[in-house]
Symmetry: C2
Subunit: 337 residues, 2 copies
DNA sequence: GACAGTTTATGGACCGGTCCAAAGAAGGGC
DNA sequence: GCCCTTCTTTGGACCGGTCCATAAACTGTC
């Protein structure tokens, strides 16, 4: 009644279990007729190897744990796509664990992965409470993808080049003729990098005095509120660069609620090129940081690190690209002082 | 150098490995001082049980496989949330596999789960090519969540009540005074159910002749095109009920591009109450089918079925709720014939 | 036909846990 | 002090694979 084992297959094929094991692992050292017999027996019995037994014996699981923050963020999903395909090319499986989905359950994801004995770990985005992750990273090959935060001795990092991306966005606005430009900032290291880069570019163009920064967060609400503050201030900006697409959508709503038309009265740039930005009805100009590519590179780095765990940590920055859509245009003629 | 095993712990604590096993599984039959000794040894060595060894021996994995179509769809993620929390309460882990992320890799997810020997299977949404799933469902306790499609002898189904939800949407529009109402239909059984229900309600109000159905799909593009066709036809509807939120956003774009203002000139209703619908800038009136709840119930059914695999299959329909937001209102006065 | 060399097949130890029958220790009654 | 019962603890078989040293079966040579 219970699932057939390799011994059942062996008996059926009239060979030893070792031979079955050889065949199943694709050895060339097996006489063709025996191979056929084994494969036939496998087929007849509907045999499926037991992954637990295999990994116990092989002392590896051929799977990597992926820790992430929030599956609701489409950006992560895009990254997962690239990650998964490259891992698969290397015969590895991906086990997902969403911190946000599980955190409130008091489940410790890193611990689960430790017990599962994953062969590698990928941390996607900034993970809160990562002491456990740090501990795990000393035993398990680990790569951080999409965040620059925790830099450990043997942990590689792949991320978008936030400074460059923010510069792209800011320069796009300046090129269009905007001078009074605001930034709705995000949190964490990425938020910091983008904000700093925005300020640097503004400064380089002699626009320091016309640059404003509003603190927001990664949510629509944050973008909305930031925008309301910007637009109710005495000197309105003619363009706003938001930390990410979601915040940008919030900003867009605020602008329209206050009677401004985008991009006629106000230009907006988002970040991430999520599918939100691609919705016709939003059609945000945004910065594409190549999440798919980041995912693939992260997988590649992990594969390298699994082969040689002591290699020096590498930091790879993926080059972002500006995606111009419908929310940016020249400043209103009357708007320039 | 390699991870400590239960025998290392036993040696350190000066007891047998069996005793360690007892302590670790929380047995009451252990004298307190021995328990302390074991726990101390565990702590000192940083011992973590090996999940593979445990499941090999216990002949179960305490994990369930979750098959889904597309993580990009926020609806699924919401459902996962409910699913995960209830599974966790029952000491089960969730292993995610996204069909869309993996399908093109030629990886057979059901097969992976079979090799992993998951204790249960949850299929979320309509899965293409499910012969493998059907085969697995005969061995492994299985529940289908969020789709009514594959009804097998021992497979439970939890889904939103699409007929009821579509009726809610349609009646809402009728109550507002609309008469000429269109539906942008989706594919699959859910699409069918919503369309039929729309037609039934229209018929019940004597509006059969004023009901139009445009075939769309689950994408923004589909909604957009459907809407363009509707609005370029001789008799424009004053209200449109779209298969889901994404299609609704597409429809919204089309309407505005053609110069109609929503909801002044045209009312729109979506379906799913995804976070898209909640974006201030879209603020769609939509039908909430309680995905979180569906997830929880699916988990509950699975737990029951795992205890008693031969119980009769159950079908649970979750009751949807209308969420009125900004895209519906009374028909334009001049619009009524 | 015996021998060496090569290819192919096998038995058994091992991975790290759980489980169970049985041994050992402690407590109670007479 | 001895026997019986109950509570703790233990050794060893087992889960289902992999791996390796060794055995068996061929091949070819002289």
């Amino acid at each position: 009644m219970s699932a057939p084992t390799i011994r059942d297959v062996a008996e059926r094929a009239g060979v030893s279990k070792s031979l079955v094991s050889l065949v199943l692992r694709g050895s060339e050292q097996v006489r063709p007729e025996k191979r056929q017999a084994v494969l036939a027996a496998v087929e007849e019995l509907g045999y499926r190897p037991n992954a637990a037994a295999r990994s116990l014996s092989e002392r590896r699981t051929r799977s990597v744990g992926v820790l992430l923050n929030d599956l609701r963020n489409p950006w992560f999903v895009e990254l997962l796509d690239g990650l998964g395909s490259r891992l698969h090319e290397n015969g590895l499986h991906m086990m997902l664990a969403d911190g946000r989905l599980n955190r409130h359950l008091g489940e410790d994801l890193t611990r689960i992965f430790t017990e599962l004995r994953v062969d590698g770990l990928i941390a996607v985005g900034t993970l809160p409470g990562s002491e456990e992750l740090l501990a795990a990273a000393t035993h398990i090959p680990t790569v951080v993808a999409g965040a620059v935060e925790p830099v450990l001795p043997h942990v590689d990092v792949v991320a978008g080049d936030d400074s460059y991306g923010a510069a792209l966005a800011t320069e796009h606005l300046i090129d269009l003729g905007h001078r009074r430009i605001a930034h709705i900032a995000g949190q964490g290291v990425a938020g910091e990098l983008r904000r700093t880069s925005f300020e640097r570019v503004m400064h380089a163009h002699g626009l320091t005095d016309l640059a404003t920064v509003e603190q927001g967060d990664h949510t629509e609400e944050g973008g909305y509120r930031g925008m309301v503050r910007l637009l109710t201030a005495p000197q309105r900006p003619t363009a706003v660069f938001a930390f990410n697409d979601i915040a940008c959508v919030g900003a867009l709503s605020a602008a329209e609620e206050l009677g401004l038309q985008v991009p006629r009265d106000l230009s907006l740039v988002g970040y991430d090129n999520t599918y939100l930005a691609r919705l016709r009805h939003l059609w945000l100009t945004t910065v594409d940081n190549g999440s798919h590519d980041i995912g693939r590179r992260a997988a590649q780095l992990l594969v390298h690190r699994m082969k040689d765990p002591r290699r020096a940590a590498e930091t790879v920055l993926s080059e972002p690209r500006l995606e111009v859509r419908g929310t940016t245009g020249p400043p209103p003629v009357t708007g320039t002082p």
